[in-house]
Amino acid sequence: MTHRSLAAGSGASFPGAGARDEILFKVRGALSRRNDQLSPPPAWSVPSCPPECPQPGMERLLREIDNLGGITRQVKTRSELRSALVELAIAQGIQRATLWETRELAELRIGETLQGLGIRLVSPHADKSQLAECDLGVTGVDCALPETGTLLLCSSAVRPLSVSLLPRVHLAILGASVLRRDLAQALAEVRGRRAVCITGPSRTADIEMTLAVGVHGPRVLAVWALGTDFTPG
């Protein structure tokens, strides 16, 4: 092959065929594989976190998120949850909020508590411009990775991903049952679903490698961990 055939758009012509067939034809020609059978991908044994690290727990998750500039707290009782919401609403000047319509959040009565504080609730299915005006978006979490401080949120009809994106404060509430050992385990669970992994508040270092927190995504990421003996009242 000379420089001529290296140039883009050159090579074997394939008159009359569509782009798809021509590309596949050229790829097959280039690979000149003897066997058309697809062998499975190579097996690998190293998990996506160092193998000897112990099963990390909730403390590690919250510490990692703290290190990334998130605000975390452990919530043991219903009254503590209420006072945490009051504190957050005051500290962040929350006036409008939206939240996932999941059973878990309904049981925690997050919506009622926020409304009780005089905060206007916006439907998570509202128009994107209305969601963008919300100060707070409250979501649950499907999986969490303590080692990296990552929260994995899956999308569904009652769990729009915009709730964790458009409001300037994102509050994620989770229990110990969502902790997973590593990314491979978490991804195996959500396989194929629309989802987002969130690791700390949005950030950039595009200007002189100086970290600036809060760009397009939420400026504040609050993560509250419910204690193992937490009982929604």
Binding site: T2, S39, P41, P51, A132, G149, I207
Partner: protein
């Protein structure tokens, strides 16, 4: 935004580098590397090496079965409600995106950072069709505002200082901003917020395509990728055909390698896993998703067993950070969208050696890029392979250089093969150098030898090698005897002192 550049004159470009560039580049790459080292050390250096090998094997396996994985991917994207379009060339890709935009009457496009769309020169094309295109990644936004092009894969505006950016914002946005990274970021974010909400179409590239489920994976930090993929009703992703990985297990490996090696993060702020569309209007997100699979020369690269590994690249940018050449010249001198070591091997293969034949020579072959690459691309081996082809193709300047090199090599071989010729040559050089000799140095030589003396003086030819060698042997054996004698003397003195001290004690 250069669609198809003319011939890339790397050497000539290096003559016009603004003085501030190396400093700005080095301070950024130093930080990238420090963060990356910390992340790799925390992971465990040994396990990291194992993981790199796995990453290499997984990516190579995918490339070796690319046709099959492409078909699997297409089927799965379509069954999830997305549409797959194939583009043989940059022009076809531009046409596909422009036609989608025109069909949906798109006026405003928001774009997330994408090397593939830079490669095909998409922005310019859409703009010439009267469509407004706004880059939303902070670095890309700055570069677009400056009418510039990205100089680094992961840090597009890395060549600009915050003072330059503050001035740019003042001139182009009419805001007086202090040269403060956080405040400048906030200003840009505030400007872009409205644009996300009113855009008719979002465009991005893609970090990975998971064949098994037809999922597009976007790795970002700012949240703009999520905005582009979620808020506008139409979403288009332009992705090179080589970005496929087999399944979600492979994705776990890649997502462990990429952020750590790129920015030293254990995980980026956001990783979007985008599969299909909101067909039933029950979930949020775009209602129309197009995946444009871009060939643009990639299927040709697959042909060669070694060159093929160029396509393993996951665009982490670490090879740029570690490269001594990139650190001194920055990204723009590489003449196109891909810079640094990956640019030196990818650009010649995408544009052809006639245009980019100088790039494989833009390297010291130190091999630091091989060692830092998260998927173990044998970059130096590929560089050598491309150098050989560039010389074989013997076009233009490289052709005449090749003839001179061959003649020079033949003359040298002849002179070195005969001890008499060698001796005469060495004597002759001492005489020939006389007109150029200044204080024991040769500061300037006539062409073509001035290629050396333009950058540094050559030491004068003093004597021939055999004479020097004889003298050196003689000198060194003498020194050895003197040193041995002095050591024996010192040991003798120490022993006497010890004996005296022992006698006093007892």
């Amino acid at each position: 935004m250069k669609t198809s550049p003319g011939k890339i004159h790397f050497r000539r470009n290096t003559q016009n580098i603004p003085a501030r560039i190396p400093g700005a580049v080095q301070s950024a790459t130093k930080r990238f590397l420090a963060l990356r080292d910390a992340a790799v050390n925390e992971y465990g250096a040994e396990h990291w090496q194992e993981l790199r090998q796995i990453g290499h094997d997984l990516r190579l396996h995918t490339l070796e079965h690319l046709d099959t994985y492409l078909e699997v991917l297409e089927k799965n994207v379509e069954s999830a409600g997305g549409q797959v379009q194939w583009a043989r060339t940059a022009e076809e890709a531009r046409n596909i995106v422009r036609e989608i935009a025109q069909r949906r009457n798109v006026r405003r496009v928001v774009k997330a950072k994408s090397m593939a769309t830079e490669e095909i020169g998409l922005n310019k094309d859409l703009q010439s069709a009267g469509i407004s295109v706004l880059e939303t990644d902070l670095g890309e936004f700055i570069v677009q505002l400056a009418g510039d092009s990205p100089s680094h894969i992961t840090g597009p505006a890395l060549h600009l200082r915050k003072e330059d950016i503050a001035e740019l914002f003042h001139a182009r946005l009419g805001v007086v901003a202090p040269p403060d990274a956080e405040q400048l970021s906030r200003i840009a974010a505030a400007r872009l917020r409205h644009e996300f909400l009113v855009a008719d179409m979002g465009i991005s590239g893609g970090n990975f395509l998971v064949a098994d489920t037809g999922t597009l994976v976007l790795v970002t930090n700012e949240g703009n990728g999520r905005m582009c993929a979620t808020l506008p009703p139409v979403y288009v992703a332009v992705v090179g055909i080589e970005k496929i990985i087999p399944d979600w297990q492979s994705l776990a490996v890649m997502l462990t390698l990429l952020p750590r090696n790129a920015t030293g993060q254990k995980m980026t702020a956001y990783i979007s896993l985008i599969g299909g569309v909101n067909a039933a209007s029950t979930e949020d997100g775009a209602t129309e998703f197009h995946l444009v699979l871009l060939d643009n020369g990639r299927s040709e690269i697959l042909r060669h067993r070694i060159l093929r590994e160029t396509l393993l690249c996951i665009r982490c940018g670490a090879c740029l950070n570690i490269c001594p050449v990139y650190n001194n010249v920055g990204g723009h001198v590489y003449g196109w969208v891909y810079s640094g070591p990956i640019g030196a091997i990818l650009t010649p293969q995408l544009l052809g050696l006639r245009k980019a034949g100088e790039l494989p020579f833009a390297s010291t072959l130190c091999g630091a890029c091989n060692d830092i690459c998260p998927v173990k691309i044998p970059i130096t081996e590929i560089l050598l392979c491309l150098r050989q082809r560039a010389l074989e193709s013997a076009t233009g300047a490289i052709g005449s250089q090749q003839t001179m090199l061959r003649l020079g090599a033949q003359a040298t071989a002849l002179a070195l093969a005969s001890s008499r010729l060698y001796g005469w040559g060495a004597q002759a050089l001492r005489v020939i150098q006389l007109p150029f000799l200044r204080n024991g140095w040769l500061p300037r030589l006539p062409p073509p030898l001035n290629r050396w003396t333009n950058s540094r003086p050559l030491p004068a030819f003093r004597t021939d090698f055999r004479k020097w060698w004889r003298h050196r042997n003689h000198g060194s054996s003498k020194t050895w005897r003197t040193r041995a004698r002095s050591i024996v003397n010192k040991a003798d003195q120490a022993a006497s002192a010890l004996r005296a001290w022992y006698r006093r004690r007892t």
